[in-house]
Symmetry: C2
Subunit: 231 residues, 2 copies
Amino acid sequence: LSSTVTKTVVVEGVLDANDALAQANREKFDRAGNFVINMMSSPGAGKTTLLERTLERLGDRIRIGVMEGDVQTTLDADRLERFNIPIAQVNTDPGFGGECHLDANMVRYGLPGLPLDDIDVLIIENVGNLVCPAEFKVGEDSRVMVFSVTEGEDKPLKYPLMFRSVELVLINKSDLLPHLEVDLDALNRNLDAVNPGVERILLSARTGEGVDEWCSWLESHARSGAVPLVK
Amino acid sequence: LSSTVTKTVVVEGVLDANDALAQANREKFDRAGNFVINMMSSPGAGKTTLLERTLERLGDRIRIGVMEGDVQTTLDADRLERFNIPIAQVNTDPGFGGECHLDANMVRYGLPGLPLDDIDVLIIENVGNLVCPAEFKVGEDSRVMVFSVTEGEDKPLKYPLMFRSVELVLINKSDLLPHLEVDLDALNRNLDAVNPGVERILLSARTGEGVDEWCSWLESHARSGAVPLVK
C-alpha cells in the first residue's frame, strides 16, 4: 500500500509542475496572439482527417499551425505536409518515456519548431487517449474533443473527466450512423449528464457534413482572440 | 528537467512493484487452474459486446469469470449480469486515482470478489486505452486485443507497444468494412511490421462473423492449461 501512497504524492507534484509550465507556454502564446486548441480523442476518432478538411477550408483565411503529439511515428504530420503550414512533431517515445498524453513540458519542447508570430490558430493534436490527456493543461485557450459515433453512446459516462474538460464535442463519422445501432439521443443525454449544455456539432470529416459549422466555430473563436480557459 | 528525471525513476520503481504483484496474482491463478486473459483495446472497440457473444456460445461449456476494469461506472458489468457468471468490478477512480489502465495491484484488489476455484477462464477487460495497459502485467497467461477496423490501418505503427505485447488481435466490426476506406492489406502489413506473424481473426461481434473461430481459440487455450506468457 505504501507504494500507492508515494505514487499519489508524486503525481500531485508532477501536476503542479505541469501547471507552471503550462502557464509559461500560455504566456508565449499570448505574446504571439495565438488562439490555441488542445484537440483530444480516442485513437482513430478522426482528428487528422478533420484537420485536413479544416485546412482545405480555412487555410487561405487563417494562418493555422499544428503540433502533432504521438507516441511514435510522424504519420499524422506527413498527412498534413501538403498544406505547407508550420507543423511541429512531438513524440512521447522515447524522449518522454512513451507517455500516453502530451503534457506542458512536451509542448514546450515542440514550440521552437513553430513560428508563433506567424500563426493565428495553433491546433495541438494530442495522443489518442480518453483518459490522461484531460489531466494535463498545455497552455491552451480551448479544449475540443473529436468523438466517433462508432465508440458508442455510453462513453461520456465511462470517461467523464475527458468529456467534462472540453468546451466543444465534435461528434464525428456521422456518415456511419445508418450502419450502427448507436443511440444519438442517449449520447446527448450522457453528454449533458457529465457536461451540461456542452456545445456539440454532428459532423463527418469524410462527407463534409457539419464541417462548415466547425470551421465557423474555429474562425469566430480565433477572431475573438485568446480567451483564458476557465475549466 | 529534474522533475522529469525524478518521475522516470519513480515510474521504474512502480513497474518493479507491479511485476512482483503480478507474480503473486499469477500464483493464485495457477493454484486455481485459471487460464487468464488480459483483454485490451481502444474505447468502444467492442470488448464487452464480444464478451456477450462469447458467453452466449461458451457459457455452457467453460466456466468463465470476468473482471471489469473501468475508470468509472459499472456499465459493462451490468451488460454481462444476465449471464449469471462471476463478475468483479474494479474502478480506477476514485480508489486508484483515475488511472488509465489496470495494474497488478488493482487486479489483486478485485480478486476476492471472484470464486477462482470455480472458474476455468478469467477474462480481464482492461480500461479502454492503446498505451498504458500494455505496460502493466497483471498476472495473465495471454494478452488479446480487440481492434476496431474503424480506427484505421495505421494504428499498429502508432501504438506499437500494445500491438507487440499481444498474441492475438481480434479485428472487430468487419460488418462496417463496406462503409469504410480502411485498407485491410495495409493493416496486416502494419501488424506484421510490429509483431511479425501475430495471430489475427477478422470478426464482427455484431453479425457473428469470425466469433466461432475466436471461441475455438479460447476453448483450446483454456484446455491446454495455463501457459506462462513469454513476451
